[in-house]
Every structure is written in structure tokens, then in C-alpha cells.
């Protein structure tokens, strides 16, 4: 039988929440990127009518959106809104990479610079003991 001091137990619990939140946050981001990618694939596969938009890609995209909604609620249950909302800013940067490598879309200098600035913002947010 092992005894853990209350302070240490809190620290372990806090670390577990952090790991759990990080996994959920990454899943949340990945699902948003997957949903947008599937929507794009769906729109390129469909012809110029609304009915052709109802296909396997659209259904998968909606499934991703719904799963993301559940994960987002779990994240909000464990964390403050101010802390976790900014993490979503990573999505456009990842979409930029997907659009370039999967759909061969053109990337401008401003896209790269803007993404770098967004990443800088996130780095400031998640870097422990960052002082401003």
C-alpha cells in the first residue's frame, strides 16, 4: 500500500488533466481539419446540384463535426474557456498545409507570415512561465 501526500496527489491529478486535455485538444484540431478537408473533397466531387452534395464525404465531414462537438464539451468541462479557445487558431495554419499538399493550392507570402505570427501567439500562450 502506498500513501501519497495530498499536495502530491493534486499535482499528479493536475498533470493527468493536462495530458488528457492536450490529447483532446489535438483531436479537436485534427477533426476540424479533417471535416474541412472532407467538405472540400465533397464539393470537388459533386456536380452543380445540391443533391450530389449528399455523398459519403459530406456524411463523414458531419460525423467529424459532431465528434468534434462532443470533444469540445469535454475540453470545456476540464478547462477554462479563456485557456482553451485560442488553441483553435491552429486550424487555418494546418488547413493551409492540407490545401497545398492535397489540393495543390497556391500559398502566398502573407499566408506564411500570418501563420508564423499565429504560431508565435500560441507559443506565448502555451510556454510555461512566459512573461509579458
Amino acid at each position: 500500500m502506498s500513501f501519497v501526500l495530498p499536495g502530491k496527489a493534486l499535482l499528479i491529478a493536475d498533470r493527468k488533466v493536462k495530458i488528457y486535455t492536450t490529447i483532446l485538444a489535438l483531436a479537436n484540431i485534427a477533426l476540424q481539419v479533417v471535416a474541412f478537408t472532407l467538405m472540400k473533397i465533397s464539393s470537388t466531387h459533386s456536380k452543380h446540384n445540391i443533391i450530389s452534395l449528399i455523398n459519403i464525404f459530406t456524411l463523414l465531414a458531419f460525423s467529424a463535426v459532431f465528434t468534434r462537438a462532443i470533444i469540445w464539451q469535454w475540453i470545456l468541462k476540464l478547462n477554462s474557456l479563456t485557456k482553451c479557445y485560442l488553441f483553435n487558431a491552429l486550424v487555418p495554419t494546418l488547413l493551409l498545409l492540407v490545401s497545398h499538399y492535397l489540393f495543390h493550392e497556391h500559398i502566398t507570402h502573407n499566408n506564411i507570415l500570418g501563420s508564423a505570427i499565429v504560431m508565435l501567439g500560441l507559443l506565448i500562450l502555451f510556454k510555461p512561465n512566459a512573461k509579458i
Binding site: 464539451q73 468541462k77 485560442l86 500570418g114 499565429v118 500560441l122 500562450l125
Partner: protein, 105 residues
């Protein structure tokens, strides 16, 4: 008209997130409770308003609005939910906003 719609979209997006947060901390079903349903209801209004705004403004302008959602949501979370905002959180949200503006220029 554009400014009014933009202000509404930004405020309602932040409000929707507040509803979701309230729904998450409620000791009821995680998804199907009154706050979460209201939150997603608000997002449907936001989507309708965004489509309306796109008639008057360019897509670039929309990205700036998405960027503005970050500082406005954390400010509203602080006001309504009483969450503490660290200086680095506020600074990060403003840097992200700048990033979004440059991204779409």
C-alpha cells in the same frame, strides 16, 4: 450595415461559446442540455449572419472577424464566467488577430 453585422457576429460567437461552457460545467448530459442546444442555436444564427455579411464584404474581411472572435470570447468569458485572463493570454489573442489579418491580406 457591415459594422453592425460584424459586431453582432463577434458578440454572438462569444455568447455561443459561453453557452457551451455553461453547458459543459452543468451536471447534466454533456451534449443534450439547454445551454449546449442554445449555444449551437446561436451558431446557426451566426452562420446565417455570416452568409448575409458575405454579400456586402469580401472573404478577407470575414477572416479578420474570425480573428476578432478570439479576444472578444476571452473578454466575455472573463466578464460573464468570471474567468481570470492572464496578460499572456490577452497578448496571445491580439498576436493571433494580427496573424489572421496578415494571413488574408
Amino acid at each position: 450595415m457591415i459594422i453592425l453585422l460584424s459586431a453582432l457576429i463577434i458578440t454572438l460567437t462569444a455568447t455561443g461559446q459561453i453557452f457551451l461552457k455553461k453547458g459543459a460545467i452543468l451536471n447534466k448530459h454533456l451534449i443534450f442540455n439547454q445551454y449546449v442546444i442554445s449555444g449551437y442555436g446561436v451558431f446557426i444564427i451566426v452562420m446565417t449572419l455570416s452568409i448575409t455579411l458575405m454579400h456586402y464584404a469580401s472573404m478577407k474581411y470575414m477572416s479578420a472577424i474570425v480573428g476578432l472572435n478570439y479576444p472578444s470570447t476571452i473578454l466575455l468569458a472573463s466578464l460573464v464566467l468570471g474567468e481570470k485572463i492572464q496578460t499572456k493570454t490577452l497578448a496571445a489573442s491580439l498576436i493571433i488577430l494580427l496573424g489572421y489579418i496578415i494571413f488574408t491580406l
